[in-house]
């Protein structure tokens, strides 16, 4: 729990001199929106749940997302979790890169996602569901899982559209264990969302529609190369809502409902994100 608290505290401390980011209220799904060049977004993403026949746990991930160029965003994740009646563990890191191969806006905008993961099996961040991930993975004690490290390569094809204020995003996920001779695993995520107001009012406001966006997400596994499909894996769906505090952080919340017996009944997800503007802005070219 200490690790989670420290990560959360670091994030809160970082809120002093930054502004809210413009982003869609997704937890698993990616859209084609990249970080603005030179900006650094600091976020804390948490998930809390109580799996049936298992111990309740809280997982926290600190995210550092940097806009390297207009078409390339790079991100570092540090994850940990606390399981009740068990222990608190650091579970590892991820390094992610997203590229926009098409430099103009289209009806469907592809983004290529490449991630290297170095995580132990105690990781419960649930940032994606792939292969045959299921509730049984979440019941194992930390002592049995924290010593097993997995190094994995994750590739995603992100397809995303902005239409009449709506964002519609589809992700196809593939993951390969780089140590064990396991087959490629697959997963999916789909999200749709919209700001509650399409225009900005003439005056500053706090709890008004223009600061809120809402949507829904569905995500889950698709088995692996040897047994592709929706069976023997977990699936979740739920509404999601984000609140952009004026000149403050963005708060996002989603209850995700498990859709089959391999899933946890309910995941409570939350995120606090903040954007530091133009951290290394002088390295970036201007558009003349």
């Amino acid at each position: 729990m200490k690790l989670i608290s420290v990560l959360g505290l670091l994030t809160l401390l970082s809120l002093a001199t930054a502004v809210a980011a413009q982003e869609w209220p997704y937890f698993v799904t990616y859209s084609h929106a990249l970080e603005e060049p030179g900006n650094l977004e600091v976020a804390f993403k948490g998930v809390q749940t109580s799996p049936k026949d298992g111990s309740p746990f809280s997982s926290g991930t600190l995210e550092l997302e940097y806009g390297a160029t207009g078409w390339w965003t790079t991100e570092l994740y540090l994850s940990g979790q606390h399981t009740s009646n068990d222990s608190t563990v650091f579970t590892g890191y991820r390094w992610e890169n997203r590229f926009r191969p098409l430099l103009r806006e289209h009806l469907i905008n592809p983004v290529l996602y490449v991630e290297y993961e170095n995580l132990n099996k105690a990781d419960h961040s649930l940032l994606e569901i792939v292969g045959h991930d299921s509730i049984s993975d979440l019941r194992l004690p930390n002592a049995a899982t924290r010593s097993v490290t997995e190094r994995e390569l994750e590739l995603k094809l992100i397809l995303s559209s902005n239409v009449r204020g709506w964002n519609i995003s589809e992700n196809f996920i593939s993951e390969k264990n780089l140590i064990e001779p396991e087959p490629w695993e697959f997963g999916y995520a789909f999200g749709v969302s919209r700001p509650l107001s399409l225009t900005a009012g003439s005056k500053n406001c706090f709890l008004c529609r223009e600061n809120l966006s809402a949507g829904a997400e569905i995500y889950g596994g698709l088995g692996d190369m040897d047994s592709f499909g929706l069976e023997a894996t977990s699936h979740y769906a739920g509404p999601t809502v984000a609140f952009n505090l004026p000149r403050g952080p963005t708060l996002t919340f989603s209850p995700s409902f498990g859709l089959n017996s391999n899933s946890v009944g309910m995941l409570y997800r939350f995120k606090v994100s903040y954007e530091f503007q133009q951290i290394f802005g002088h390295f970036h070219r201007g558009a003349k």
């Binding site: 890169n97 430099l103 003439s202």
Partner: protein, 139 residues
Amino acid sequence: MSRPRFLCLGWVLLAASLCGAADLGWMKHISEADRGRTNPYTKQADAIAGGSRLFADHCAQCHGGDALGRGKKPSLRTKEVQQAADGEIFSLLKNGYLSKGMPSWSSLPEPSRWQIIAYVKSLGEQGTRQSARPQGSQK
């Protein structure tokens, strides 16, 4: 190097080369349909005030609070920008100019983008850096 690692490196290089190769001038690729679009919020004080708030949140970080540019980021109060058709600026906001560091603002709803354009146009041309406020600004 193991095969999966080689594959990872290959993906990164392929994506980077695809992106780097497509450096396009934004003005060259504006469709006639986009160029001809008109701003529904031109000279509307409330919309301009809303646009000034959006500008402060999303644009001022690079272009400066007075839109006169910052560092290598260009001024939006030059003759070229102020006399550009609203549809041309709208196309730039929608597509960005990713190879030159200008992000796409397609995640902002269309009406919000028109508000920003109305605000920028309300500032007028100016060659020297000094503070400027639009008609109806609430800042």
